[in-house]
């Protein structure tokens, strides 16, 4: 590139060594409600940032509109609070233009899956190297409590006084159906888990989609308690670990087997089944990922948490650069004079 960006992009890069979580906090008051799930997500992001080895000035957070989309204001890196639903479209342009940046998206279930749905599926399909943190609170919070495309059937909200009629998206299934390469789920109440998932997302080349159950204390309090409360989650969720069988339960005494294509819970304590019978998680198997994703609204099986899928595919912005380099290799660097003259010109 013979352009003035070069200097900023290539020649001046800070040393990420020695960064601490504090370096990612700024002086603004965080204006989420006390008890909002957002706080935990923010802390975990700030905690892992220094571990990524990325110079601070290379990190950019893009968001849409919603409580969750206020996120960039609270990070002391580059931040872009855009318009409702468009974070992924903006971030795609940014990342394609600037592959040197680490681009993160903070978005909500409404922002990402309702108005932003089209950009979401296309970003997944293209595999742009973006890290999406979707704060799922199963509600539109900023606008004070309407149902979202992830709200539960029957849920009573300001726009569904007699209960929601819509069936919700299954976000993991939608991401997989759209071609996403990395798909994961976590929740606000487990900081270590979130740190792990965020690091994995950061390491993944290509689109990384992390759905995070985030409690909204005001408009949908307790929506995820059944899965996230310390005293319940061992029985109601199963942690997905690559190469490991699906075991869960307070005493690790239950597992998930596949009966045909249907997952079923079995007891590991009555001698009938052992760990060998269980589904063994494989992050590289798209079909398995879909089976696991489909466990989501199935009350007979535990809810899967962790990385559903992580497969390798070249990322979009990488291919864009390759094609440009190819063109230059094949045809030589562009000559503006020649381009302007075109194929047929004459002199007067």
């Amino acid at each position: 590139m013979r352009n003035i960006l070069e200097d900023i992009v290539i020649n001046h890069v800070s040393d990420p060594a020695g960064l601490t979580p504090k370096d990612f906090k700024n002086e603004l008051d965080v204006r989420w409600c006390a008890g909002c799930g957002g706080y935990s997500i923010l802390s975990q992001v700030q905690r892992i940032m220094p571990t990524l080895g990325i110079p601070k000035e290379k990190i950019t957070f893009v968001s849409g509109i919603g409580c969750s989309s206020r996120f960039p204001y609270y990070m002391d890196v580059y931040g872009f609070h855009s318009i409702h639903g468009r974070a992924l479209a903006i971030a795609s342009g940014l990342k394609i233009a600037r592959p040197d940046l680490s681009v993160w998206i903070a978005t909500g279930d409404g922002d990402c899956m309702s108005i932003g749905g089209n950009h979401f599926i296309h970003a997944c399909r293209r595999n742009v190297d973006l890290n999406i943190l979707m704060f799922n609170n199963e509600i539109y919070s900023l606008t004070k409590g309407q149902y979202s495309p992830l709200s539960r059937p029957g849920q009573k909200t300001k726009t569904s006084p007699m209960g929601v009629l819509d069936d919700p998206f299954n976000p993991a299934a939608l991401a997989l159906g759209s071609g996403a390469t990395f798909v994961a789920r976590g929740y606000d109440k487990d900081p270590k888990m979130l740190q792990y998932l965020f690091e994995r997302a950061a390491q993944h080349k290509g689109i990384a989609f992390v759905e995070i159950y985030a409690n909204c204390v005001i408009f949908n309090d307790g929506a995820f308690d059944n899965y996230t409360e310390k005293d319940k989650r061992a029985e109601t969720t199963v942690w997905l670990e690559h190469g490991k069988p699906l075991i869960f339960g307070t005493n690790n005494d239950k597992g998930v087997i596949l009966d045909g294509f249907t997952p079923r819970v079995v007891s590991l304590s009555d001698g009938k089944y052992s760990a060998n019978d269980l589904i063994v998680h494989n992050e590289h198997d798209s079909t398995l990922a879909f089976i696991l994703a489909n466990m989501t609204y199935n009350e007979d099986v535990p809810r899967p948490i962790g990385v559903f899928q992580a497969i390798a595919r070249p990322s979009y912005e990488e291919k864009v650069e390759w094609q440009i380099n190819d063109a230059i290799t094949k045809y030589g660097e562009g000559d503006l004079n020649a381009l302007m003259r075109g194929d047929e010109y004459w002199e007067i």
Binding site: I59, I65, F80
Partner: protein, 614 residues
């Protein structure tokens, strides 16, 4: 046989035939050759709106019109001096535009019973005397080429295909132009297929010789070369000019170029061209829709690119919300809107000037955007660079309006040496000077452009109202007023940075014509004709619609009557009326067609005749 040679100042010729007849090729070659011999040229291709309409039908006619002359030619011509009609439908559709006494070259092979029926002719117009007002040359082109190429091992179908080249050769003779440029071009194109090359060369020659030897064709015409500035020339469409303008602007600004776009007629070709510029390092995202097109461009602008999005009416409507975001973010962005006939899907392949209101006013809240317009195909190049210059200098989205007529029409363009192009100075914020996201340049009011990746300038921006200087979110009432006014003032400041409106004709007087956009050619032609006749009138053509040139009010104040012809219901008229608080006479042709010069001429003559009756 000796023939008469007549000298003409300008000529309008139209090649018309079925979609499959290769009329676009004949037209382009004729136009290029005319450029090479030094004529001024203006052209427009006219396709059917169906992708591939059934053969021989009226709606399947494809045509290419060229006006060429020995002085600056500004339109494709109102009336045809020459019509080449390859079949009955093409005659039927185009005959109304042939001037009395004009030449019609008809391929009789295209007037068989089936053709006549498809053209809805009851009798053969070549035979029934209905063309007596014209100079009709009937030639069985198909038969001639078949004969000429009989010894080549080519299918009959292919042989037939060369009839457009025959017609081209004939018109070369008629207007005394060389066949060599086309022969050379054929050589490059078919170099690897000698049989086909031979066929085409022979057809070209046969056409030329037909004229030379014909007993009927007694007059040859010549058009002197125009007095053109020295330099390299080429024919260019408005769309290609926009594409080149973007690349050139990026080059001058020393920025990489990004285009985020979604295909839409008649803007798509800009995307096509730029998609072909890979070796220039240009990055293109063919987005999932227009919203993603502009949003990705905003993302790239944030990242420090010269960023752009291209579209037409329906797409512009979809970009409205994001344009407002670009306004409040104060990021540079070039938005090119190639206008087409609306509302809604309207008539996608037809030009209109219907998007001016929307460009000026079509956003919620107070969201001012500079709006400029190109006045000819070649001018699209300069105005695209101008859009980029203003966008980066004032940190603002800029809308450039062109239309389907400019986009597809061509004119010869003097290729400017890169050094001649205006400089575009861009500087990114660095830690060296005190930084704040909304710190402004005192003169332009532009904020600083700090791109991610710059050490130490980490900051947040967004669509919420923000405090000036710090850029922090603010709901303070006074600050909001201040910001609304700054954003408005910043755009107004551009008036200090653009050329004065250029007044053609009398300095003051009775009648001033004000035009904008693609109607330049037609108005200019009419204006020149009338002033040549000694009529008193003046003309200003606006390329800057927001802000308007500073001297416009002054100019207008020196005329009794202002006349504004537009391809809409009076959008510029309304703007001028509210800005200068005086009545403006409008002329509103909204037919999906550009103005013809004679239409403007008629209107002006009427106005001039009714001086009292304003």
């Amino acid at each position: 046989m000796s023939k008469k040679v007549e000298y003409l100042e300008q000529v309008t010729i139209r090649f018309a035939g079925d979609s499959g007849d290769g009329m676009q090729l004949s037209g382009t070659q004729f136009s290029n050759t005319s450029g090479i011999v030094g004529n001024s040229v203006n052209t427009f291709p006219d396709y059917p709106s169906e992708i591939r309409a059934p053969e021989g039908t009226l709606y399947g006619v494809s045509a290419y019109q060229i006006q060429f002359g020995s002085k600056k030619v500004n339109t494709i011509g109102d009336k045809l001096d020459v019509l080449v009609a390859m079949n009955a439908s093409s005659l039927k559709v185009n005959l109304p535009n042939v001037r009395e006494g004009g030449i019609i070259i008809a391929n009789t092979a295209g007037f068989g019973d089936k053709n006549l029926k498809l053209a809805k002719y009851d009798a053969n117009p070549l035979e029934d005397g209905s063309l007596d007002k014209y100079r009709l040359f009937k030639i069985n082109i198909s038969d001639i080429v078949k004969e000429e190429l009989a010894d080549l091992k080519l299918s009959l179908k292919y042989t037939e295909r060369t009839k457009n080249i025959f017609a081209l050769g004939l018109t070369y003779w008629l207007f005394n132009r060389p066949t060599e440029p086309t022969a050379k071009w054929l050589g490059e194109k078919f170099g690897k297929k000698p049989e086909i090359l031979e066929a085409n060369l022979r057809a070209l020659k046969a056409g030329y010789n037909y004229g030379l030897n014909s007993e009927e064709m007694t007059t040859q015409y010549d058009i002197k070369s125009a007095n053109l500035e020295k330099g390299y020339y080429r024919n260019i469409t408005g769309n290609e000019a926009c594409a080149l303008g973007l690349v050139a602007a990026a080059n001058k600004a020393k920025l990489p170029l990004f285009l985020g776009s979604y295909p839409i007629t008649p803007a798509t070709e800009i995307l096509h061209f730029i998609s072909g510029y890979k070796k220039f390092g240009v990055k293109v995202l063919q987005a999932e829709d227009e919203i993603a097109g502009i949003c990705s461009a905003i993302g790239a602008a944030y990242g420090g690119y010269l960023s752009s999005t291209t579209t037409s009416g329906p797409g512009l409507s979809l970009k409205v919300e994001a344009m407002g975001l670009a306004v409040i973010l104060e990021l540079p962005l070039v938005i090119i809107d190639v206008q087409r006939a609306g509302p809604s899907t309207g008539m996608p392949t037809k030009p209109e000037q219907g998007d001016l209101f929307m460009a000026l006013y079509g956003r919620h809240g107070e969201a001012p955007i500079p709006v400029i317009a190109a006045s000819s195909a070649a001018d699209c190049f300069a105005m695209t660079i101008e859009a980029a210059r203003l966008a980066t200098k004032y940190m603002t989205p800029v809308i450039l309006l062109t239309d389907g007529y400019l986009a597809q029409g061509t004119e010869p363009w003097r290729i400017p040496p890169i050094e001649e192009l205006p400089d575009i100075k861009v500087e990114f914020a660095t830690v060296k000077e005190e930084f704040a996201p909304y710190k402004r340049d005192a003169e332009t009011l532009a904020r600083m452009w700090a791109v991610p990746g710059t050490i130490g300038l980490e900051h947040r921006i967004g669509g919420l109202e923000k405090e000036d200087y710090t850029g922090l979110v603010s709901q303070d009432p006074k600050n909001h007023q201040k910001m609304v006014e700054i954003r408005a003032q910043k755009v107004q400041n551009i008036a200090n940075d653009i050329p004065d409106a250029e007044l053609m004709g009398e300095e003051s007087g009775d009648l001033l014509v004000i035009g904008w956009g693609s109607s330049y050619g037609a108005i200019k032609t009419a204006y020149e004709k009338l002033t040549a006749e000694g009529k008193k009138l003046s003309y200003v053509h606006l390329k800057y619609l927001n802000p308007l040139p500073k001297n416009l009010g002054d100019i207008m104040s020196r005329f009794e009557r202002i006349f504004v012809p537009e391809i809409n219901l009076g959008q510029l008229q309304t703007v001028l009326q509210s800005t200068f608080i005086r009545p403006v006479i409008g002329y509103h042709k909204v037919q999906g067609l550009p103005f013809k010069a004679f239409e403007i001429e008629d209107q002006l003559n009427e106005l001039l005749a009714n001086k009292g009756g304003k």
